[in-house]
């Protein structure tokens, strides 16, 4: 099942980084809610409150487009916060030269205007390099406070990367919501 695969990969990668806490059990205990979030990630868009479905009617989606991923209103960027990697010689799922994709991410749930479907988007920071500085964007559809970290875009999401220095942000599809 994909949910476990993603989760397992994340745990495995974090385990390798934090070698002093190498057992899955102790890492689980250590990460606490963050891991809960990891497990929850693919499921949030269908949560009971239906907030994401309600959010579809909001401003971002009305102006979203699917042609130019170097613009803030590109459909995947509905909960983006940061410099677009697509403006920094990276891509929507590629880090620019010298930066490393974080193994962790926050998530959003965005509507693709081409098919009308809602997709779960993982916003990954590219890390290990000072800010790119091109195309700053902020969108807050479904964005939550830091005490709900997986949905918060104010956090430097370089957890698990070799360096916590933030360079830019991409937006990869994790699945249909």
């Amino acid at each position: 099942m994909q949910r476990e695969t993603v989760l397992d990969r994340w745990i495995e990668r974090l385990s390798r980084r934090f070698a002093q806490r190498s057992s899955r059990r102790s890492l689980l205990a250590r990460l606490g809610v963050a891991l809960v979030g990891g497990a929850l990630l693919p499921l949030l868009p269908v949560d009971r409150s239906g907030q994401f479905r309600r959010a579809r009617a909001q401003a971002f989606f009305e102006n979203a487009q699917a042609e130019d991923d170097t613009q803030c209103n590109y459909w995947r960027y509905c909960a983006m916060d940061g410099y677009l990697c697509t403006c920094c010689n990276g891509g929507v799922t590629a880090c620019p030269p010298g930066a490393e994709p974080s193994p962790t991410s926050w998530v959003g749930s965005c509507v693709n205007p081409q098919d009308g479907n809602t997709y779960l988007i993982a916003y990954r920071d590219c890390c290990g390099k000072e800010v790119c500085g091109r195309c700053p964007c902020l969108s807050t559809e479904g964005e939550m406070p830091v005490y709900r970290p997986q949905l918060s875009n104010d956090i430097d999401w370089c957890f698990g990367a070799r360096s916590m220095v933030y360079h830019c942000t991409g937006a990869g599809i994790v699945g249909r919501a």
């Binding site: 000072e130 709900r148 360096s163």
Partner: protein, 391 residues
């Protein structure tokens, strides 16, 4: 060989130079020279006025090179700057003698070894007088007030960690040493609630209440959720009145939660909506960044409000609404010159209200009349937070 060569050549140069100097000394007779020589000094600041506004500029274009610019809210004058590191937090000692910056550096700019540190500055000379290293790091998030806080007496600095597991580092400011880490799994931030206590916000919409002692021993107590973290979360920024034993939290949709602090425990005493049905219909919501400030003398909360759709919780405020928590009422509201992301009411008896736009313009208002007194430009590239001493 290298050093003898050096001496030989420099003696040559020196001889030439002295020759020229002597020649020049003999030039134009009768001409006055060196009749004035001005002495140089360094400016020292007076004790901070409560009307000084400290603007924390996270500097998104160069996150490793943030800065804290200080202005006199009465005159608009620039008073000084403290250069800081990656996503810093600023704390001003209650006695106004020191400044603490909770910050992160790398040994080669943005490369090399990371160090997390509380930097200590003298508030009058702005010289860096010491530091305490945080061995467990710190939360690297865009600066928010509750990310680091002082105990009310200024003795301890509490610095929130997220790696992504959460905890709070305890630093003994008086003894200049790291005491230890208080584990706070899953809950975030530091809201001081008493002399040796603080609370955190948990993902289920509850507080976790922590008490600690001077040696860093801590006890944590959980509570029932008081808001719906799925549908209407409270903002991270809140109005905290430790001395008064009260805190005020507000939600994306404008719910106002009143919290009593009693012996290190939280108790939600009241909840009501800042907006009427009609105002809701018009889209009025709280929003921005540092969107609420409390004045203990006036006993009023000042809240940035805007008209916008759901999920516009970071949109700058176009009005300030003045909240009386005893009457559960908005007692005043006034429009701002420019939409602003942050605001601060100074803590003194004749307070100023300072606002901040996302382009670095500080507005100064009379918080009681709403009158716009002046604006200060150029307070930062991407500033986010306002501070005042003794607040």
């Amino acid at each position: 060989m290298r050093s003898s060569l050096a001496v030989a050549v420099s003696i040559l140069a020196l001889a030439t130079g002295v020759g020229q100097a002597q020649q020049a000394t003999q030039a134009p007779p009768g001409q006055e020279r060196l009749d004035v020589t001005e002495e140089w000094s360094t400016v020292t600041l007076p004790e901070a006025s409560p009307h000084w506004i400290w603007v924390l500029d996270v500097a998104f274009d160069n996150l490793i090179a943030s800065r804290i610019n200080i202005f006199d809210g009465d005159s608009g004058k620039f008073l000084g700057v403290v250069h800081s590191g990656f996503v810093p937090n600023l704390l001003l000692s209650p006695d106004k003698r020191e400044i603490y910056v909770d910050e992160t550096y790398w040994s080669r700019g943005s490369q090399g070894d990371r160090v997390d540190v509380v930097s200590i500055y003298d508030a009058r000379t702005l010289l860096r007088t010491g530091e305490v290293i945080l061995p467990q790091g710190r939360a690297l998030i865009v600066p928010k007030l509750p990310t680091a806080q002082l105990s009310p007496d200024g003795r301890f600095l509490l610095s929130f960690n997220m790696n992504p597991a959460t905890s709070v580092s305890l630093v003994d400011i008086r003894e200049r040493r790291y005491v230890g880490e208080i584990e706070t799994p899953g809950c975030s931030f530091v809201y001081p609630t008493g002399p040796r206590s603080f609370s955190l916000l948990c993902p289920d919409g509850s507080f976790a209440d922590v008490t600690y002692d001077d040696s860093g021993r801590a006890q944590i107590a959980n509570n029932q959720p008081f808001f719906d973290a799925e549908s209407d979360p409270v903002f991270e920024h809140a109005a905290i009145d430790v001395a008064g034993g009260r805190g005020y939290f507000l939600s994306y949709e404008g719910m106002f939660y009143e919290v009593a602090f009693e012996n290190g425990r939280t108790r939600v005493t009241d909840r009501w909506s800042l907006t009427t049905a009609e105002e809701k219909e018009d889209g009025w919501r709280p929003g921005g960044w540092q969107l609420v400030s409390w004045h203990p003398g006036l006993r009023r909360a000042f809240v940035l409000m805007h008209r916008g759709p759901r999920w516009s919780h970071k949109q700058p405020g176009e009005e300030v609404w003045v909240v009386d928590p005893e009457a559960n009422a908005i007692v005043d509201r006034f429009a701002l010159e420019e939409p602003s992301i942050s605001l601060l009411v100074t803590p003194d008896a004749e307070p100023l209200l300072a606002t901040l736009t996302d382009t670095g313009v500080v507005g100064i208002y009379d918080p009681e009349s709403g009158e716009h007194l002046r604006s200060i430009d150029g307070t930062g590239v991407t500033p986010f937070l306002l501070h005042a001493a003794g607040g």
